[in-house]
């Protein structure tokens, strides 16, 4: 054996040491045996038992173990401060709540332990916790130890041992405060408005006051709030009946601070209605101006559909004072709805109600609009007013129809033709300049979507992916295609009926129809207000816009020829022949130039205009089902 290796092995294995131990064993038996036993013991002491592997973990989303999610709350909101102010003996009614921020599961409070200055106490526990403050003014420390669970199938929950402990601390400052009512509460009318004034609460940490209607003692409702020791109450909310004033501390806790009781009389609001037939649907109120500390006044308008039972629909429009501004009047224009029985497409009656504080001022009146009118707005006859034609009077501008399926009215790209569906499923087609001649499909089509071009009608059958084309002259089906997706809406098709734009649930698609085959040309991700419309004068381009950008694109590759910003304007109609568009901008109609967006004319307008509800036809704006008065 290699001597070097031998030496190394000897050194590593303590061979020399062991030999020495053996010699000692021989010379001194007992000592040697003990040394051997010692040697074996050292070896045995290094034994390792079988190690068990690490824990197996399962991915279950964890709970946020952060005490900032615990809030003490009163009836209205979280008290997000850590310091709460009270007076001796004051009752604190509260409950604890977890904020549901950024978690999709609910945390259940299983039990709560309360500590006041480190000593456990038990507040009365009903729906809320009720705790009466100590009689000795001082600073106290309130602690809540909350055990909660999440119950989402985690191990601890399954085994019935789930409990997460949150500890939340608050400082309670109890102030000496004997006089718990103001020495005066006055009210008066100032400029037609009610002013309530009271003595300030002398506590140093009061940030404002709240008023409660205590008609129901256990469930007081907030009727007003102010940061000052007075309230200018245009809405008379704090006026009528018995009210309690409560001072609000910086910690959002409340201290009782007086009460008052008053009764009318107080000024009624004025409702002005016009007797003009056109303005039957316009109503306005005189509205007091608002002060910053007055609870909002709200106006409700109900549309009432004509029916034998006069069912009142729920509130269909709500106007907050924030949308009115500092105006003395509110003007409201009504839009129509379709009745349940599908027999009328214009609304039939209106009830208007304004609610101010606790007092209603309402005017109810009705006017029936027959379901058979198609009405036109003439821009030429009177500056910007309508050419209003009542039903039953045939003047060449009114079409009386017997059956009309709501939202089915469609017009051709040049605005000279229109078509609509009857309730029984026929397609009717006519020309704007000759309303008395309607052409009807020979059979029921069961169509739901409809679009008319210069030489044909496209429709989609209800509940299917089938796209069909009808010849305008014969109203006979000439082509049918089965698509791979359901069409939500037919947006447009070119004048030669070769190109179609449709909207599905997630895309805008441009199809090209050649020799009985439908090809997908372009597909745009859906933007909520996006529209694809073809240029029927130049088949090589089409328009694509949403509420932000208007663009003109090449039909073959969708490259942009020109574009400009719309900044939220809504395009109602593109009149390609006259290079202009009908746009609604805020409370105005606007006529703009297609090629550069320049403003050609602007018409004040108040009301609602919906997508495709209005188009330009010559100098007229044609509405397909809704009427707008000015």
């Amino acid at each position: 054996m290699n001597p070097k290796f031998n030496i190394t092995l000897k050194t590593i294995l303590f061979s020399d040491l062991l030999t020495d131990i053996n010699r000692r064993t021989i010379k001194q038996k007992i000592v040697g045996i003990l040394l051997k036993i010692f040697l074996v013991s050292i070896f045995l002491s290094t034994f390792q038992s079988c190690d068990l592997k690490l824990d197996e973990e399962f991915e279950i989303p964890g709970v946020a173990l952060d005490d900032s999610i615990v809030g003490i709350t009163d009836q209205y909101k979280f008290l997000e401060v850590d310091t709460l102010y009270f007076t001796p003996g004051q009752n604190m009614s509260f409950y604890l709540k977890f904020k549901q921020e950024q978690v999709d599961y609910y945390r259940y409070i299983e039990s709560v332990e309360f500590l006041l200055n480190g000593s456990e106490f038990k507040p009365n526990n009903g729906y809320n916790y009720n705790f009466t403050m100590p009689d000795i003014p001082a600073t106290y420390y309130l602690t809540a130890k909350i055990n909660c669970s999440v119950r989402i199938g985690n191990i601890a929950n399954i085994t019935g041992l789930e409990s997460y402990l949150f500890e939340k601390n608050w400082v309670l400052i109890i102030y000496e405060f004997e006089n718990q009512s103001p020495s005066y509460v006055n009210y008066s009318f100032v400029d037609g408005r009610l002013k309530i004034e009271w003595e300030k609460c002398p506590l140093p940490f009061i940030k404002g006051y709240r008023f409660y209607d205590v008609t129901y003692e256990n469930n007081p409702s907030l009727v007003g709030k102010t940061d000052f020791n007075y309230l200018i109450d245009s809405a008379y909310r704090g006026y009528s009946g018995y009210r309690k004033i409560r001072a609000v501390t910086r910690g959002n806790s409340e201290i009782a601070w007086g009460s008052y009781s008053t009764e009318g009389p107080f000024p009624q609001m004025t409702v002005i209605t016009s007797t003009d037939p056109c303005e039957k649907r316009k109503v306005f109120w005189n509205v007091p101006k608002y002060y910053n500390n007055v609870a909002s006044t709200q106006f409700y308008i109900n549309d009432v559909l004509y029916s034998t039972s006069f069912d009142v629909y729920d509130t269909v429009r709500f106007i907050d004072n924030t949308s009115i501004g500092n105006t003395d009047q509110i003007h409201i224009h009504f839009t129509g709805s379709q009745s349940n029985n599908q027999q009328s497409f214009a609304y039939s009656a209106v009830k208007a109600t304004a609610l101010s504080g606790y007092k209603y001022s309402s005017e109810t009146y009705s006017r029936v609009f027959p379901a058979t009118d198609i009405l036109f707005l003439n821009l030429e006859q009177e500056k910007y007013l309508i050419s209003y034609l009542s039903s039953g009077v045939s003047t060449g501008d009114t079409l009386i129809i017997n059956s009309f399926k709501n939202s089915s009215f469609t017009t051709s790209p040049d605005g000279t033709k229109f078509a609509f569906l009857t309730n029984s499923g026929e397609i009717k087609y006519g020309e704007v300049n000759n309303l008395n001649q309607l052409i009807t499909t020979p059979s029921f089509t069961n169509s739901s979507l409809l679009k008319i071009s210069d030489n044909g009608i496209a429709c989609v059958k209800s509940g299917s992916y089938s796209l069909m084309f009808y010849d305008l002259n014969s109203m006979v089906s000439i082509e049918s295609f089965n698509l791979d997706t359901q069409i939500e809406k037919i947006i447009d098709f070119s004048s030669n009926a070769e190109n179609f734009s449709v909207k599905t649930w997630n895309t805008d698609i441009v199809y090209k129809r050649i020799n009985g085959i439908l090809n997908k040309l372009h597909e745009f991700p859906l933007i909520y207000y996006s529209i694809v419309k073809f240029d029927h004068l130049n088949p090589e381009q089409f328009f694509y816009w949403d509420r932000q950008v208007f663009s003109c694109r090449n039909i073959n590759n969708s490259e942009i020829n020109y574009s400009y910003s719309l900044i939220g304007d809504e395009i109602l109609h593109v009149d390609i022949a006259n290079n202009r568009m009908l746009v609604i901008v805020g409370s105005s109609f606007r006529i703009t130039r297609i090629t550069d967006g320049a403003i050609l004319n602007e018409i004040p307008f108040i009301g609602n205009c919906f997508e495709n509800s209005s188009i330009l036809v010559g100098n007229r704006i044609v509405f397909n089902s809704l009427i707008h008065c000015f």
Binding site: L13, V40, L44, Q48, C50, L52, V63, I155
Partner: protein, 238 residues
Amino acid sequence: MRKITLLAVITLSSILFVNSQNINIGLSAGVSFPKMQSSRSQMEGKLKVLPFEAKITDNFPAWIEYKAEYYRDFDDYMLGFYIVRNSTGGRISSKDFSANYHFDVKMRNNVLGFNTKLLLDEYKQTRFFFCIGGGIEHLKTDLYEAMELLGNNKKVVYLDASKKKESFHAIFGLTTEVKLSKKIMASAYFHYYFSSTRKEIASYNTSFDYNYHLSPKWNGLRSGLSVFFIFPDKKDTQ
């Protein structure tokens, strides 16, 4: 049992005073392959009753065997004794944000036995032996089942028990020795281990009403490598 153990220790100790050619002291490390079939099926049964997702992360695997040996070498045979320590264990485990669950079974087997090696063949510095031996075994099993609740830092211990048992064992097998120098020898062994413990030695009621039957069966193969230090006997050194 104590008397038998004492008798065995005295008998084995007498080997310390027998005259021979050489004294061999060996230290071994090997692997034991205990069968533990019953223990494994018990773990699987326990896993099935758990109402939450869990896994058997250890199921009585083969583990390191430590051995210390003392032999008197008479050329054609050897007489000696050995001390062996085996261990193995099983664990069912589960953990999520709410709790950490363990069910642990840890087993140790300390063995003291007398061994005889009979020379079968010799080739240069290499000798082949047939081994046969037997002695006592001391079994210790720890069972621990607990749920650590992470939401409030509390721990629920369902079971914390320990069981000891003594019994007998026997081994037989082959051993090969190669002399590396006058004082050092390497050895390899391949044995089969028989334990007299065959029946259930205890029963424990664990969580979710599962009755865990403890029946450690250490029968199985043993193999490993040893290093022997050779010391000339008294007569030769004088």
